[in-house]
């Protein structure tokens, strides 16, 4: 197994002071190798990709298309053309909603999502349902975050055209039974869209094995720069879809009145592409593969166990989701009696500890679990046991600062 301490040395910002960064579910830190790969692209292969007939442009094209192949291999796509580069998961999911959803969901049809979805996997489907007079149906989890077989079988029916589900909840940390849900959805003739923003950084993903027809991920949550993400789409589906954005670099032939479009994936990548950050994403994937998912999961589970055991000793803390640290994917969401999460986060920040507080872009879930707002600590492989200890120590002093005695 790799020595994780060595990897931490690659993250300049983590080593720049005494900050504890526990907001990895929002965005990760980035290692030097990724930043250098982006910088090298602009220093050595900088030209507009995909159209020039000269060496530099061909170098840019190669760098960009090689990155696509790396992403395809990372999530088990059968061919590189099934990967479309986007800005992030939100854009990937909107692409599916606009280009597939609006065309294929009709009046009286149903779209099934879960109440745990991030707004980015909820609002696009609300839009499709409203526009086409379809119905948006919500699967609801048990208190520990589990969506039961009975639940998904009662919500997915012959009317269902799309099932859109988060692979891992950004609040509960629970991994949803996507494979089982996909199998059932397919038996009902629906297609399956998976929001992989919180899973791709933490576990080996195989889109074929999962049964995902579409799978969306964000680079910035997995060591890559902000502003690069990807959408996997099954080849046959992408081929029949209309473009999402129209303009340069996505055409075959254009007249005054009409246009035919380029082959996939370029049909979905209008305008000059973000090649530099695509190169960064490929480098991030190589970095993650070098660390290894076994080591990543082991470290996250160790830290999550410490976190949850420590929090369990504080009687005024309530943790959401499963009691089992293994079912949290490094995400621990909690509240403190009498203390608003924003006050908690401000006081922790005073001690140089970074946690998220608020509704985590999942307001319907907050309503469902009966919390107006929560705090969330989320770890990644580069976090350490001593950081967890410091977090627990400082957290145990927050109530005193808020006037609740010692």
């Amino acid at each position: 197994m790799s020595n994780l301490g060595d990897f931490r040395k690659d993250f300049d910002q983590l080593n720049s002071g005494d900050y504890v960064y526990f907001d990895n579910a929002a965005t990760s830190q980035r290692p030097r190798q990724v930043l250098e790969a982006v910088s090298n692209f602009y220093k050595t292969a900088n030209a507009n990709p995909l159209r020039g007939l000269y060496d530099w442009s061909m170098a840019a094209t190669d760098a960009y298309e090689n990155s696509r192949a790396v992403v395809a291999d990372f999530i088990g796509a059968s061919r590189a053309e099934e990967i479309i580069f986007t800005r992030n998961t939100t854009e990937s999911l909107n692409l599916v909603a606009y280009s597939y959803g609006l065309e294929n969901v009709h009046e009286g049809d149903e779209i099934v999502i879960s109440v745990m979805e991030h707004h980015s996997n909820m609002l696009p489907w609300q839009m499709v349902a409203k526009k086409n007079n379809a119905k948006l149906v919500f699967m609801e989890p048990l208190e520990d975050g589990t969506i039961t077989e009975q639940e998904y079988k009662s919500k997915i029916t012959d009317k269902t055209k799309i099932v859109a589900i988060g692979h891992v909840s950004n609040v509960m940390g629970v991994t949803n039974p996507v494979k089982e849900i996909a199998e059932y959805a397919h038996s009902k003739g629906a297609i399956v869209v998976v929001d992989g923003a919180q899973s791709a950084p933490h576990m080996k993903v195989d889109v074929k094995d999962l049964g995902a027809d579409f799978f969306a991920l964000s680079g910035h949550k997995m060591l890559a720069p902000m502003g690069i993400g990807a959408l996997y789409g099954r080849y046959e589906l992408l081929e029949q879809m209309q473009p999402f954005l129209r303009g340069g670099e996505m055409i075959e032939y254009v007249t005054r009145e009409d246009a035919t479009y380029a082959e996939i994936p370029h049909k979905f990548e209008a305008g000059t592409v973000n090649a530099g950050d695509a190169v960064g994403l490929a480098e991030a994937i190589k970095y993650i593969q070098n660390v290894g998912f076994d080591a990543i999961e082991a470290q996250e589970q160790k830290l999550t166990t410490m976190l949850m055991e420590g929090l369990a000793k504080l009687p005024y803390i309530k943790v959401y989701g499963s009691k089992d640290p293994k079912k949290h994917c490094g995400i621990v969401t909690f509240t403190m009696d009498g203390v608003h999460p924003h006050d908690m986060a401000s006081i922790l920040n005073d001690d140089h500890i970074c946690v998220r507080a608020g509704h985590h872009c999942a307001q319907p879930l907050m309503q469902f679990i009966g919390a107006g707002s929560t705090a969330r600590a989320s770890v990644y492989f580069y976090n350490t046991e001593s950081e967890v200890e410091r977090f627990l120590d400082k957290l145990s002093k927050v109530r005193e600062v808020m006037g609740y005695g010692a």
Binding site: D343, S346, I347, A357, G358, H359, G403
Partner: protein
């Protein structure tokens, strides 16, 4: 003021033992103020007589800074004319934005001056100004605030 000191010496007292929290019978003006991103949610209730605020209460929930700020605000505005209260809201919001810093102007805010350091906490500005913004809105646009 250091953050923890601000909580210990000013915010906690108003948050844990508010003086002006409650529901009012027959208020003249009622307006709800919400920070959707963090869930601060207050309802401000005022009684006005001859252009003067004669009674004020707020109800609701939220972070300690939002609650303490509105409690201090009600302390300040009862007994003031509508015009003076609106002016005071301008001074407070100017202070929080870091635009009003001279001592003479700030003196009018009395205890609420303690929240001046929120100007250095961009994430908490909305919490501090919620009550003041709601008060200004209801006095300037009473048609929106009919109970």
């Amino acid at each position: 003021m250091e953050l923890k000191q601000l909580y210990r010496e000013i915010v906690n007292e108003h948050n844990l033992h508010p003086v002006h929290k409650g529901k009012m019978e027959n208020p003249d003006l009622v307006l709800r103020g919400v920070n959707p991103s963090c869930g601060d949610d207050i309802t401000l209730q005022l009684k006005i007589k001859d252009g003067v605020i004669v009674e004020g209460l707020y109800d609701g929930s939220g972070c300690a800074i939002s609650q303490a700020s509105v409690d201090m605000m009600v302390d300040q505005i009862v007994g003031k004319s509508k015009e003076d209260a609106i002016k005071l809201a301008g001074t407070f919001m100017g202070m929080i934005k870091g635009e009003v810093t001279d001592e003479e102007s700030l003196e009018a805010l009395d205890e609420a001056v303690a929240l001046q350091d929120v100007a250095h906490m961009p994430a908490r500005v909305k919490c501090a100004v919620l009550g003041w913004h709601t008060m200004q809105e209801m006095l300037e646009h009473p048609e929106k605030a009919q109970g």
